[in-house]
């Protein structure tokens, strides 16, 4: 069951470290919350209620606005089976959709392969930031990773035009002939060729962009601004990926988590405003996830690794509201006796995005049928 997904774009934002779901979407009227959280707790005047039971973290006021405008969907209790609370295993699982074995193919890289089976456009998948996440990596599938939009390309520091042309030609010769020298050398060779074609396309992006939206001066805002710049240049990108780090709040969560919430919510709402200004908001959905939620009980200054957490969808095409079921905060129901139990499998949400948004068959990517939600306006 797929719908026509032509030109629809997905922007994935990874919150690295394990965001504290319970202090993002807060069960502010539930006494179990206050029993479990003695110190790392938000009082009723620090939250923005969305109903009688749940509230948005008060530092994320832009989220409240988006929620009220019907542009924010909250997926409650998302998680994966048999959590072992490791960041790395957790992130691997989210990146490859393989909870029971160590997978090597990223779920979004596989989606890029489906969207652009002949690898015609190296910008079908674009990562903004340092380092390509495994979610985007599949051997043989070109995706572009841009750490520095302005300096992207090779041999572009040589000033003499004739020499520059010769140098690029030589580079192409060397990188095009890495076949037969082993898989890693071949991979590097292909990456070099992809850089050349991506650089051609991206050369003018920065100059073409104009906007009245003023993004804040922080990493996630800068990255989402770059997403906007590339997207608005109309280069055929279907999947963007970027990361926001710092969520591993074992300690000093009280001073640090509010800034994360402020930066993230501000960046996302600025990004959506930017799209709106350019009349480009109909076909973009933002998906925000993290590897796990945190422990029910705080440890005095922070929270340790937990299980079930939350994910979020943003954008004009999104039917805002609550999806899934908030995990029980009653101690009797806690996973391992100390964590939120997840209530919906992340592979169902991947399936939702792949099939209902990108029109890609999800089954071979998530390896099965998982319960989906219906978060898109029809």
């Amino acid at each position: 069951m797929t719908t026509n997904g032509a030109e629809k774009t997905l922007v994935v934002v990874q919150l690295s470290g394990g965001n504290d779901f319970m202090n993002t979407i807060v069960p502010y009227s539930n006494p179990h919350y206050y029993d479990a959280r003695k110190k790392v707790v938000l009082s009723e005047d620090q939250v923005l209620p969305i109903n009688d039971e749940l509230a948005i973290n008060g530092n994320a006021a832009p989220f409240k606005r988006l929620y009220d405008e019907g542009k924010m969907a909250i997926v409650q209790g998302i998680g994966y089976p048999d959590s072992n609370r490791s960041h790395f295993r957790g992130m691997d699982i989210w990146h490859t959709a393989e909870p029971h074995r160590v997978g090597s193919e990223g779920w979004l890289g596989q989606a890029v392969r489906e969207l652009d089976p002949d690898a015609e456009n190296v910008l079908t998948g674009v990562n903004i930031g340092m380092g390509l996440p495994r979610a985007m990596a599949v051997t043989g599938v070109p995706v572009t990773s841009v750490g520095d939009l302005e300096g992207y390309g090779v041999m572009n520091r040589i000033e003499q035009q004739k020499l520059k042309d010769k140098a690029i030609e030589a580079f192409k010769g060397i990188y095009g002939q890495a076949i037969g020298t082993g898989p890693v050398a071949e991979y590097i060779g292909q990456t070099g060729l992809d850089v050349l074609s991506g650089a051609d396309m991206l050369a003018d992006v920065a100059n073409r962009y104009e906007s009245t939206v003023e993004y804040a001066d922080n990493g996630i805002a800068k990255n989402l601004r770059d997403v906007a710049r590339v997207h608005l240049a109309g280069l055929g990108t279907r999947i963007f990926y970027t990361q926001h780090g710092g969520y591993d709040t074992h300690a000093t969560q009280l001073p640090n988590h509010p800034k994360l919430m402020t930066d993230l919510s501000g960046a996302i709402s600025d990004f959506l405003d930017d799209l709106e200004e350019h009349d480009a908001s109909d076909n973009v959905t933002v998906f925000v996830f993290t590897e796990f939620g945190r422990r029910m009980r705080d440890n005095g200054s922070g929270t340790d690794h937990g299980s079930g957490g939350g994910a979020y969808l943003f954008g004009k095409p999104v039917e805002g509201g609550l999806y899934g079921e908030y995990p029980s905060v009653d101690p009797a129901d806690w996973a391992h006796g100390e964590d939120l139990e997840h209530t919906i499998d992340f592979r169902g949400i991947y399936g939702t995005l792949l099939e209902q948004w990108l029109a890609v068959d999800a089954k071979p990517i998530v390896k099965g049928d998982f319960e989906q939600i219906s978060p898109f306006r029809v």
């Binding site: 690295s16 295993r89 060397i174 590097i188 074992h250």
Partner: protein, 468 residues
């Protein structure tokens, strides 16, 4: 010649940060391969760099300055393995500035790594567990009697010593209890004196003195006992051997998959583990075994992708720009995480030293390479070899000869000068064709615009050069 140029160049790249043509001349003339290995594992035979001299040029609180100072050491040290082991320990016990924002503690930790890198695993783990930067990074200062924070206990077992599958959740809790009360203090207050290194402190009142059962042994263990038990485990010998193999010999898969995926070279891991066990976790015998082994000597063909710092330090060693302390080396290490408005080359290539992305450290091997990082690698090399007034570039250009020479011989000399690097036949042919093109271009119309340095540039931009 007492030793083989290409093999010694390979050794010096892996056990250090490369070698200049002049250094390679001296080494191969005076010493056998085994003698060079023996020198590497006994760094005290060589003089230490004068730290005070460095401090005059690179001082201040910014983490980029500390990284710059470290890079200066990598490029100029007479004790390359000491410096490489500090980097190894930073890779496998990664601590990031971003949490503490405390530069001096991070730099003190690297100094500690330099001091203990060639001792033994007990010493290394004990110093690590008492290191303020690590204590704060993994929250052991929040690990209290009766209210444990298991972050350090978990990562010590999962990522630092044994790997998943060799312990239980109960072992994590027992280890965490044994490290309660291991914290640090600030000898000087932040205001007005600024950041100064912190000191380890043991708080007796906060330590859990009750009996604990850890890996099958029961006793009133403290952190030191836990470390002793860990170092005795064959699983630890294997895990550290695999880390060493991955760092010095050949790229392995990322650490989290080690529990399920076999090593690239089982025999090599067994060989190293055996030496580790027989010598009670001493590093020198293990490293000597590694560098003298056939598997190391044979690991020259596209086996290990250079990390960004290996690429950058290696190039800077070759260009000679920082062969004495002059301002500026920290420009390569600046990052927006630390107040710079733009990212420097290390950051764009994906390795902010002293700022690893997570406690797992950097994903290495082919994961260093994507279109963004490759674009920066090539751009960096272009820029560094562009200026022929740099002493190393000047020396290499003179040694290489003229563009009027036979292009094949010219390419051969460039490959040797850049560290005896091996390239595929296809790459060699393409370089020869490029040398011919350069020779046919009129360099007269724009002064100094075409020259042998362009060939060095291209040689260091190849697929092949991305490998150590």
């Amino acid at each position: 010649m007492k030793s083989d140029r290409a093999l010694v160049a390979h050794l010096m790249r892996r056990a250090g940060f490369g070698v200049t043509p002049a250094e390679l001349d001296t080494l191969t003339r005076d010493k056998s391969y085994e003698e060079i290995v023996d020198d590497l594992v006994n760094p005290e035979r060589f003089e230490e760099l004068d730290e005070s001299y460095i401090e005059r040029y690179y001082s201040g609180e910014l983490v980029a300055i500390h990284v710059g100072k470290w890079m200066y050491r990598m490029v100029n040290t007479q004790r390359p393995l000491e410096e490489k082991m500090a980097l190894f320990l930073h890779h496998i016990f990664p601590v990031a500035w971003g949490k503490s924002e405390h530069g001096p503690s991070l730099y003190s930790e690297i100094e500690m790594f330099r001091r203990v890198g060639l001792t033994d695993m007990q010493t290394i783990l004990l110093e690590l567990s008492q290191d303020p930067a690590m204590i704060f990074w993994l929250d052991n200062n929040e690990n209290h009697k009766g209210e444990i924070n298991e972050n350090y206990g978990r990562e010590l077992l999962e990522l630092f010593t044994m790997g998943v599958g060799n312990y239980t959740e109960d072992d994590i809790k027992a280890a965490s209890r044994a490290f309660t009360g291991w914290t640090f203090r600030q000898p000087l207050s932040l205001y007005p004196v600024g950041h100064h290194p912190a000191e380890f402190e043991f708080l007796e009142d906060d330590h859990d003195y009750e009996a604990k059962t850890f890996l099958g042994e029961t006793g009133n263990f403290n952190g030191e006992d836990i470390i002793d038990i860990i170092v005795k485990q064959p699983a630890t010998a294997r895990f550290i051997s695999r880390h060493l193999y991955n760092f010095f010999v050949e790229d392995e898969l990322q650490v989290p998959s080690w529990a399920t995926e076999p090593p690239r070279n089982e025999m090599a891991i067994q060989q190293l583990s055996k030496v580790f066990m027989e010598n009670g976790g001493q590093m020198r015998p293990v490293l000597r075994e590694l560098f003298n082994s056939d598997f190391f000597k044979e690991a020259t063909d596209f086996k290990k992708v250079k990390s960004p710092i290996e690429l950058i330090a290696g190039v800077l060693k070759q260009t000679g720009e920082f062969s004495s302390p002059v301002p500026g080396i920290q420009q390569f290490a600046v990052t927006t995480l630390n107040g710079s408005p733009f990212e420097g080359p290390l950051a764009i290539m994906g390795q902010r030293l002293m700022n690893p992305p997570t406690v797992e450290g950097w994903h290495t091997g082919h994961e260093w390479i994507d279109s963004g990082t490759l674009s920066e690698r090539v751009g960096f090399v272009e820029k560094q070899f562009q200026d022929i007034s740099k002493p190393g570039v000047k020396d290499m250009v003179e040694r290489a000869g003229s563009l009027d020479d036979d292009p094949a011989k010219l390419v051969e000399r460039c490959l040797d000068l850049l560290g005896g690097i091996k390239v595929s036949e296809q790459t060699r042919d393409a370089l020869v064709a490029y040398a011919r093109e350069l020779g046919s271009m009129d360099s007269g119309d724009e002064e100094g615009s075409v020259g042998v340095h362009n060939l060095l540039q291209m040689t260091a931009s190849t697929v092949d050069y991305q490998f150590e």
